[in-house]
Amino acid sequence: MPQNFVAQAVEDVPGMRAIFITAMPDALLYDYWIRENDNWSAEDVASYFGDLIRANREGLKALGSWSSEMQVTIESADTLVVLRELTNDFVCGGVFDRKTPLGMVRLHLKRVTERLIDHLPSFEVEERPRGVRVMEFLQRYAPDPHMVMLRVAMQTGIDLEMLRTPEKLDKAQVHQVEEATQRILGLDSLNI
């Protein structure tokens, strides 16, 4: 992607505060632009947006009404957020000033995403080991994240050193970590 491409793509878009491009399925930040005054952690936002799109995708599939054209609109106190799928491998989240009319937001984001899509790479996404993804997911959402590794070790009996290299966990250990993750987060299943 050319340098500053995202900044160029959002140039002159009124009311836009940020845009985050998230690589799926791992919900990792690919690129972003944030307006000068906003001090957000792009990595965190991109990951949460990625998870949200994934959950939304699964929910719509469960309803039998999913299509890649879907988008999620969030109206918070001071922002309007619209999440869209760009390609199979990328999703994006546009953040706008709350006062921007919703119709304009959708129109602007559609134009921006058209500009972005042409410049996103197409590649075979190599999924990282499931153990890594589960641990990342857990650390992202668990309360007291600095203690979560200890809690997983306690619950599973897996050595702390092994948990620190989750890519080396065997299938049975990954399963144990998944179960611990579900217990800690109170989930019936892990949609990762």
């Binding site: 959402y141 309360p143 994240p145 203690m147 200890l150 050595d159």
Partner: protein
């Protein structure tokens, strides 16, 4: 509450507090939730819940029995009435009983644990298991004590829980298998098990602040909800037998069956101590009340440490003293008494290992509060700040309990060193 206040006693020179002779302390919801979570992390959710309920059952059986004896309360209606007031006064929540000698139900709305769980975690994670083991244990205990039945006649199960988004906490009380165990210690027992008392550094200043702090804490009791909400925390008076039975129970469980996991359990128990000091001690020091009792925190390291010693004594944690404080290098905390080691000796005898896990975590946190918090800026003690302080490079403080009463030493000593 006059009759309950009249049952409060203090072991002079040791700063241990008792209700009808039963040892108790004040702890915050952050500590309580983390402590309970640790028990379930070790034992599993279902077994952990059952284990905690049994510990609460035993502890409250002892307390209710002694309170009813002390107040001469004989009839079931009187006993239920006193018990409900006691639980609310402790800040444990509001309970209603619908019980007969065969069992029945109780209802809590709200209860300290589930209400606080919902506040702290409710927007982040879903609660899969009820969290009111203390409410369950109390329900079983009042069922027995109310009708003068043998302890262990009942067991209680929480069927609905506010943390699980139910409107109230509900418990079913039914016949249960009695459990014989060594009686829990009371004040007279613990008096024999503490070491000879001694002063530490800055003793005069600690004593000067402690007197009005005690006066202030004497007025602390549950509000109309049966909760104590102050200093950005929910506090509760709680029976130390509950904390000790559960903590030492899980440590013994690992020592006998899975010793390689022991260091992790110890770290988690210490973490509960860190959580307590950060939230309870820290928020108290930032309160207008503290400014009135002592002064607004200046950020001086020794002042922060002596403030923490004072608060610990005020909450009934024992006669914590400063043996040595060398800023940025070393802190030595000594105490002839705390709520962990005398209990350990009474229940299990002497030990080869030091056993004051809460004290270890607390001492560690005191060093971080003293060195890493900008008190003059009056920071908000948020989760983010906690994470920054206790995660990563700032954790270069190493803690070790070098002497413990349970090992036969005259005092417990915790040394915190910067590596």
């Amino acid at each position: 509450m006059q009759e309950l206040n009249s049952l409060k006693t203090l072991l002079p020179q040791h700063d241990l507090t008792f209700l009808a002779g039963v040892p108790y302390v004040y702890h915050c919801h952050h500590f309580n939730l983390f402590h309970d979570q640790t028990i379930s992390d070790v034992l599993g959710e279902e077994r952990g819940l059952e284990f905690r309920s049994r510990a609460a059952h035993r502890a409250f059986s002892q307390l209710l029995d002694r309170i009813f004896q002390a107040l001469g309360t004989d009839t079931p209606p009187e006993r239920f009435e006193i018990a409900a007031r006691l639980f609310a006064w402790m800040g444990q929540g509001k309970m209603e009983f619908s019980l007969s000698p065969e069992g029945g139900t109780t209802r809590g709305m709200p209860l300290h644990y589930s209400f606080a769980w919902k506040q702290k975690y409710g927007s982040k994670i879903r609660c899969r298991f009820p969290v009111d083991a203390v409410g369950a244990g109390f329900s079983a205990a009042i069922g027995e004590a109310g009708f003068n039945l043998e302890p262990g006649s009942f067991q209680a199960t929480e069927t609905t829980c506010i943390a699980q988004k139910h409107t109230h906490c509900g418990f079913t009380i039914s016949a249960g298998g009695s459990e014989s165990a060594k009686p829990l210690p009371v004040q007279q027992d613990l008096e024999q098990l503490v070491g000879p008392s001694f002063p530490g550094e800055h003793e005069g200043e600690i004593v000067r602040i402690l007197a009005p702090l005690r006066e202030f804490l004497a007025g602390v009791a549950g509000d109309e909800r049966g909760l104590i909400q102050a200093f950005n925390i929910f506090a509760a008076a709680h029976l130390t037998a509950y904390y000790n039975r559960t903590a030492f129970g899980l440590i013994h469980h690992l020592e006998s069956g899975n010793p390689k996991m022991l260091p992790i359990a110890v770290q988690l128990l210490r973490e509960a101590g860190r959580v307590c000091v950060f939230n309870t001690f820290g928020n108290l020091m930032l309160s207008p009340e503290w400014e009135g009792l002592a002064s607004a925190p200046s950020g001086a390291i020794e002042e922060t440490v002596l403030s923490c010693m004072t608060i610990a004594r005020g909450l009934g944690f024992g006669h914590w003293t400063i043996k040595e404080i060398e800023p940025s290098k070393r802190f030595v905390l000594q105490t002839p008494s705390n709520y962990e080691s005398p209990f350990y000796i009474h229940q299990y005898g002497t030990s080869e290992k030091a056993r004051c896990y809460f004290l270890q975590g607390a001492a560690h946190a005191i060093m971080l509060l003293a060195h890493e918090v900008d008190w003059k800026a009056r920071p908000e003690l948020t989760e983010e700040l906690y994470f920054r302080l206790f995660h990563g490079s700032k954790t270069n403080w190493v803690v070790e309990e070098t002497r413990c009463r349970s090992q036969g030493n005259p005092l417990c000593e915790v040394v915190v060193t910067h590596r």
